[in-house]
Each structure stands twice: as structure tokens, then as C-alpha cells.
């Protein structure tokens, strides 16, 4: 998973672009699975939102269509199979509401969750992001 030290972030959003390029081959931060939130003027900081691969992922539990699942590695994946388990664009965007880290996103009706590809950290100029095995980070530690 991607561990983020938000205190180091300066809000350039290069990570958002790298993510959209890696996963969709386009420049579009709205298709990114990592997002930078600006909190100015108070408290005057940036907060990085990216999947923390929770032990009991609330996004998976919240999906009314059973379209999200968690792999053994901890990675959350979106299922799109013939049994009808697929993101059917629920109106309330249940996964985004359920995620305690604000790290589940929606683009025009499709859920976006971090694929753990690591494209984002290669372009971060401040060393905000590192790729770690999920056991390293506890849920409490990441939530600011």
C-alpha cells in the first residue's frame, strides 16, 4: 500500500497525474486514485487521501452490489464479472461515503480505488509517499 506523510506534501498534485496516466493513459486528476486535499488558510496544510487497505474494509462492506473485494495482499479491487457483481453506479456512492480516509473515488459512475502500482511516488518531489506492506501502518496512525 501507499503510505503518505501528509506533513511533507506541498500540493503539486504530480501524483494525481501519474496515477491517471498509469491507469487510464490520460492526464486527468479526476481519474486519479490518490487525491490531495487543500486546507487553507486554516489549519494551513495538505492532506493526502489514498487507500490504506484496512483490515476490515468498510468500502467492501458498503457496496450494495458486492463489486468490491479485498485480495490477500490487502489490495482492494473492483470486480467486473458476468454474475452481475459490478459497480452499478449507486446514487449515493456508498464506497466513497464509507471510506474513513476519503480514499475511495468515483469518476462518472465507476469506483476508483488504489491499485498499489506505485506510479505516484516516482514523481513526488518531497518524498511524501512510500510503498509499504500494509502491516507497517495501523489505521489510526494514518488518519489525521
Amino acid at each position: 500500500m501507499i503510505k503518505a506523510d501528509s506533513k511533507l506534501c506541498v500540493g503539486c498534485r504530480a501524483c494525481e497525474l501519474a496515477c491517471s496516466i498509469e491507469n487510464f493513459s490520460v492526464h486527468n486528476p479526476k481519474k486519479s486514485r490518490i487525491r490531495i486535499e487543500e486546507q487553507f488558510p486554516n489549519p494551513g496544510r495538505y492532506v493526502v487521501h489514498v487507500c490504506q487497505q484496512c483490515m476490515k474494509p468498510k468500502c467492501v462492506a458498503a457496496c450494495p452490489y458486492g463489486a468490491l473485494t479485498q485480495e490477500k495482499t490487502g489490495r482492494i479491487v473492483l470486480i467486473d464479472d458476468d454474475d452481475g457483481k459490478t459497480c452499478l453506479k449507486c446514487e449515493k456512492k456508498q464506497c466513497t461515503l464509507a471510506c474513513p480516509y476519503g480514499a475511495a473515488f468515483y469518476y462518472k459512475g465507476t469506483a476508483l480505488v488504489c491499485t498499489d502500482c506505485g506510479a505516484c511516488l516516482k514523481v513526488c518531489p518531497r518524498g511524501v509517499l512510500t510503498q509499504v506492506k500494509r502491516a507497517v501502518v495501523s489505521a489510526v496512525e494514518v488518519k489525521e
Binding site: 506541498v10 500540493g11 504530480a14 490520460v26 492526464h27 481519474k31
Partner: protein, 617 residues
């Protein structure tokens, strides 16, 4: 043919608003046009020249406000987050452009728009909202009269936090000739009074949100080039310096070279420079670093004035030099607060600090009395006086009515020799470099299309590095022209220049990026030819308004008063030297003795139609 990665031109007639702006049109950007003008300032120059006729009143509905960004903006390219505001200047009736960093231009690109042309004026105070292809005008009366920053925060609450917003403050509403357009809580298109033009269109703010893809010819190539640059930057020791201090390391550099703006440019050395340097900024006021879109340098510093309880992005060098040293103010905390006041009220920190410094010199010299300036004890170093003058000029209260017209107008009114030290060119206030020990910089200020702004050609850095040769006019006209052609290129592409200036990024990366996104086969020389075209086009715009050699002046102080201290002690740029430099500059540029581009030059640049319109020979 339309070419990647360009978006569209959105043209909006604000006066015909039926709220839904259904008459707005999207115009394609054709490849031929794109190749000739590239984007940003280039597109703006051509459109303004074609669509705003000579003698148009800048504050009339007939003037247009163009927001233009470039083909690299919004892409994974270091510093590609700039947009330009282009219009006819309310300060002097000539060409005006001012660029903004942050994330606004980028959001335009994600909404599929490269250029917004705002025509006529809204019937009542309004806010323009662009949400991808949904374009509408909403009632702006509840925001009218409020500060720039306050308005941005309220609009985010009202519309959604993912909107990118630019606003004007009360100064823009009141047509102050140096009012700015502000976004991202403290980024500014600060110069040339672009805020007044927005105010004249009854437009308090523009909010934009985009969710579209920007498609490019070769995305993999763009990413590979950027990863290469970031890896290179991470090894560059200057990157850390920039991330920590931004432009503020210019304070000790300018102090050492004796070229800081001090007490209305009466000297180039500030005895309290240590109190307002990069370390003071970092230790006393900075609370966070901020980057523009896609930039690894994060020169933006978010600061707090503890004394006044205000927060703002800044101060950077220019603000510190003008609102600090130029007013004799040595408290970092007070500079942050003055910066906040300017941003919230909506005026340019450079012009504001220049004018306050001028008032202070006039006051100390007895050219004006306390009574004439509303009872303010305007001594150098009096921060409270500076705050009060800033407030008055932005709100046009009392003496502020006069101050709001710019330093040239103030000197014309007060007279008694004050014209000699009114530091301006073309009624744009001189920015933070004392230039008596740098003839090239004087020429750069004098010939800049917008007036006395350093970013057209920051030749002083080159001059100081020359040692004693800095005082010689030799080779300076050549250098000014070289830089005046490099710098528009960045504004055309929608990029910041600091990656090149400060981290030494090879300019040859830019044609590589342009080719990767468009599929063209441009060289650096091709890009620079285009920016030469732009420099001639904005010159032609000014010529058509009656500008010429008479407007390429520098203040008397630069020409006649020797510096009394510092490394450049005894130096000034004599009138004879300046006039010779100007002759040489015109000759090298292919302009006549009056500074008018020749027919031959304009034809060579593919601007024969422009030559005809200005009667070039």
C-alpha cells in the same frame, strides 16, 4: 485541422446573459494558428490585436478580458500551471498581460478550454461558473464589496470545494489601476490592473471545475521526460534551497549586489536586510510550503502574521522588497500583514509598495504635508502608515483616490520635482531592482511592453554575475532581446520559467515536450521565433495606441542620481548611455528610430497584415 493537446476557445458575451449563457460559443483552435502563436500570451496577443481596436477605453464594455493558457499546462511537466490574463491596460491604454500560477489555468484545461474571451459587461455583479460544458452566470451581489480571499472561501462553500476560483477585491470593483486577480488563496495575476478590467465587466469571480481528459500525442514520452527531469532536480542541491526559501534568497543576493529596492529606490542597500531575509521568513512567519500545479520547487510559502492574526501565501521576494525595504519596513510580520491586506483588498503588492515608498519620500522631503495625506505620519519604516495608505488606495478613500491612479499620476499632481523619483515606466510601477548599477536592467524596464516589470528580461542576474562589466552597456541590448524572447515562450506554453532560471533546466526540453504533446517537429529556435513574433505583436499593439520611443523611458533618478553607497556606489546610467542603448536595441530588433517595427521585420515574422494596420514602413 485541430491538433492535440489543444482545447477550445470559449467566447462569452457577458451582456447578453440569460444566466445560462446559451449564446456562448466554443471555437476550435486550428493547427496553423497554434503553430504560429503556440498558446497563452501568444494566443492572447493575436486575439487582442484583432478584436480590440485602437483607442478603445480600457474600462468600457468594448475592451475584452482574455484568459489564456498553453498546450503544456495541466500535463505532467514541472511548472506547467500558468495562465495569463490579457487585456488593454487600464493603467496606460496599452498592452497588458499578467500571469497567475496555482491551479486555475490547469482546471480550465481539464474543462477542455485553453482560452476564455470575456466580452462586454454583465448587467449586474455576477460570478461566472464553468462546470465542464455547463456555463452560467450567477448573481454575485452577495460577494460584491468583499475581499478577494473571503470571496474565494465563500464561493468554495457555496459551489463546492473542488472548484478553482479567481476573484477580484474591492480595488478591482473600484477600477484601481493596479488591481489584481487572485486565486488559490494568495496567487495573483498582479500586474497591469487586470482586476480593474474584470471589475468593469461586473465580474466578481470566475469559478471553474473540469473533469475531462487532456489527450496528448505521446503521453509516455511526456512522462519519461518528466521523470528524467525530476530525478535530475532531486540531485540538484538548489532544489532544497528553493523548496525551503522560494524566491527569498534574492534578498541577500540583491543586498550584496546593492540592487535592492530601498526607500523608494533611493539606495540599493538596506541596513535591516538581515531582518527580512529568507531565514527570517522561514523562522518567523512561514507555516507551510505550497506548489503550483505540477511543480517540484514549491516556492510558495504560506505565512502567518502573529501580531495581526492574518495568513496569506507569501511573501516572496518582490513583495518583501517593495512592501518591506522600499518602505523602510524591517518587520517580517508586518510585511506578511501588508501582503495580506493587498491580496484581500485586491491590489498588486509591487505597485502598492512602490507607491507607499514614493509617498514616504515625498513626505520626508516636505513635498507634501501630513494634512494633504489625511493626517498620516508617512515616515519610512512606519508600518501602520503603510497599512493605512494601502487601505486608502485600494478603497479610493481620501488621498487614496489619487494614489489609486498609479505613481505617475501622483507625481504629476504633487510636482515639485517628485516626477524625478516616481519609479515607473508607462505608468507601471518599477519592481524590486535598483538598476543604476545595471544598464541592461534599466533597458529591460524601459522597453518592456507592459511597463516597468522585471519578468520580461531579468537581465540583472546576468549583469551582476559579470563583476565589474556589469556597469558597461556592452552586449546588454543583445542580452535584453535574448531574454525578452525566452520569457514569452513560457507564457505561451503555460509554464513557469523558474525551473530554467533557478534550476538550470535545459531549454531544449521545451521543444521536446511540445513535440511529444503535438507530434510536431519544433526546434528551440522555432519556439523562440514564435516568441519574437509575440514581442513584435504586443509592440505593434502599443504602436497602434500611439506608443513609441517617448514611452521607453526610465525615471530621472536612474539617469542622473549616482548611488551613494554599496558596491555600485557612484554609478548611474547616464542619459547618453541609455539613449545609445535604446538606439542599438531598436536596430538589433529591426525597429526604426522611434521604436516602430519595420515592414521588413514584421513580414519576416509572418505579420504582414499587422504591418499594414500600424502603417509600418
Amino acid at each position: 485541422m485541430v491538433v492535440l493537446p489543444y482545447g477550445k476557445i470559449l467566447r462569452i458575451d457577458l451582456s447578453r446573459s440569460d444566466d445560462t449563457l446559451s449564446h456562448s460559443t466554443y471555437e476550435p483552435i486550428h493547427e496553423e494558428f497554434a503553430k504560429k502563436y503556440l498558446g497563452g500570451r501568444g494566443f492572447g496577443a493575436r486575439i487582442l490585436f484583432d478584436e480590440v481596436p485602437a483607442k478603445t477605453d480600457p474600462l468600457s464594455p468594448e475592451n475584452k478580458l482574455i484568459i489564456a493558457t498553453g498546450p503544456l499546462n495541466g500535463l505532467l511537466i514541472p511548472g506547467a500551471g500558468k495562465a495569463s490574463f490579457i487585456t488593454k491596460s487600464p493603467a496606460n491604454g496599452g498592452w497588458a498581460d499578467s500571469s497567475i500560477g496555482g491551479h486555475f489555468g490547469t482546471e480550465m484545461r481539464y474543462a477542455g478550454i485553453d482560452v476564455i474571451i470575456l466580452e462586454h459587461a454583465a448587467r449586474k455583479p455576477s460570478v461566472l461558473v464553468i462546470d465542464d460544458e455547463k456555463v452560467k452566470l450567477i448573481d454575485g451581489s452577495k460577494y460584491w464589496g468583499k475581499g478577494s480571499l473571503e470571496t474565494e472561501l465563500e464561493l468554495k462553500k457555496d459551489l463546492g470545494h473542488d472548484f478553482r476560483i479567481v476573484t477580484i477585491g474591492p480595488a478591482g470593483e473600484k477600477f484601481v489601476t493596479f488591481s489584481c486577480i487572485t486565486g488559490d488563496y494568495g496567487r495573483n495575476a498582479g500586474r497591469c490592473g487586470v482586476g480593474a478590467v474584470m471589475g468593469s465587466k461586473n465580474l466578481k469571480a470566475i469559478a471553474i471545475r473540469g473533469s475531462k481528459d487532456i489527450k496528448v500525442h505521446d503521453a509516455k514520452k511526456v512522462r519519461a521526460l518528466t521523470e528524467e527531469i525530476i530525478a535530475m532536480f532531486l540531485k540538484n542541491p538548489n532544489l532544497k534551497v528553493w523548496q525551503n526559501y522560494g524566491t527569498m534568497t534574492t534578498v541577500p543576493w540583491a543586498q550584496a549586489a546593492g540592487c535592492m529596492s530601498v526607500r523608494n529606490f533611493s539606495t540599493g542597500i538596506f541596513e535591516h536586510a538581515d531582518s527580512i531575509d529568507e531565514k527570517s521568513m522561514r523562522e518567523q512567519v512561514a507555516i507551510a510550503d505550497r506548489s503550483c500545479f505540477g511543480c517540484p520547487m514549491s516556492c510558495g510559502k504560506f505565512s502567518e502574521s502573529k501580531k495581526h492574526g492574518t495568513r496569506i501565501e507569501g511573501p516572496e521576494y518582490e513583495t518583501t522588497a517593495l512592501l518591506g525595504a522600499n518602505c523602510g519596513i524591517s518587520s517580517m510580520d508586518d510585511i506578511v500583514h501588508a501582503n495580506y491586506l493587498c491580496d484581500e483588498l485586491g491590489i498588486d503588492t509591487i505597485s502598492a509598495g512602490n507607491i507607499v515608498g514614493f509617498v514616504m519620500e515625498c513626505f520626508e522631503k516636505g513635498i507634501i504635508t501630513k494634512e494633504e495625506i489625511d493626517g498620516i505620519e508617512a515616515n519610512f519604516g512606519n508600518s501602520e502608515a503603510a497599512f493605512e495608505l494601502i487601505r486608502k488606495m485600494a478603497l479610493k478613500e481620501g488621498v487614496g483616490e489619487l494614489l489609486s491612479k498609479g505613481v505617475r499620476a501622483v507625481a504629476a499632481k504633487w510636482g515639485k520635482g517628485s516626477e524625478k523619483f516616481a519609479m515607473q515606466v508607462k505608468n507601471l510601477e518599477w519592481s524590486g531592482y535598483e538598476s543604476r548599477g545595471a544598464p541592461g536592467m534599466a533597458l529591460s524596464y524601459g522597453t518592456a511592453d507592459v511597463g516597468a516589470h522585471h519578468n520580461r528580461a531579468w537581465v540583472i542576474a546576468y549583469e551582476i554575475a559579470q563583476g565589474d562589466k556589469r556597469y558597461s552597456p556592452e552586449g546588454k541590448a543583445e542580452k535584453v532581446i535574448e531574454l525578452q524572447h525566452i520569457r514569452p515562450m513560457f507564457d505561451q506554453l503555460g509554464c513557469c520559467r523558474l525551473q530554467w532560471v533557478e534550476l538550470g533546466l535545459d531549454l531544449n526540453y521545451y521543444p521536446k515536450f511540445v513535440n511529444a504533446v503535438t507530434g510536431w517537429d519544433f526546434t528551440l529556435a522555432d519556439l523562440l521565433k514564435s516568441s519574437e513574433r509575440i514581442y513584435n505583436l504586443t509592440r505593434a499593439f502599443n504602436v497602434r495606441e500611439g506608443f513609441g520611443r517617448k514611452d521607453d523611458y526610465v525615471p530621472e533618478r536612474v539617469l542622473t542620481e549616482p548611488l551613494t553607497e554599496g558596491p555600485a556606489k557612484g554609478h548611474f546610467v547616464s542619459r547618453e548611455v541609455y539613449e545609445k542603448l535604446l538606439d542599438h536595441y531598436y536596430e538589433l530588433r529591426g525597429w526604426d528610430k522611434n521604436g516602430v517595427p519595420t515592414l521588413k521585420k514584421l513580414e519576416e515574422l509572418g505579420l504582414a497584415d499587422v504591418a499594414k494596420k500600424i502603417g509600418a514602413e
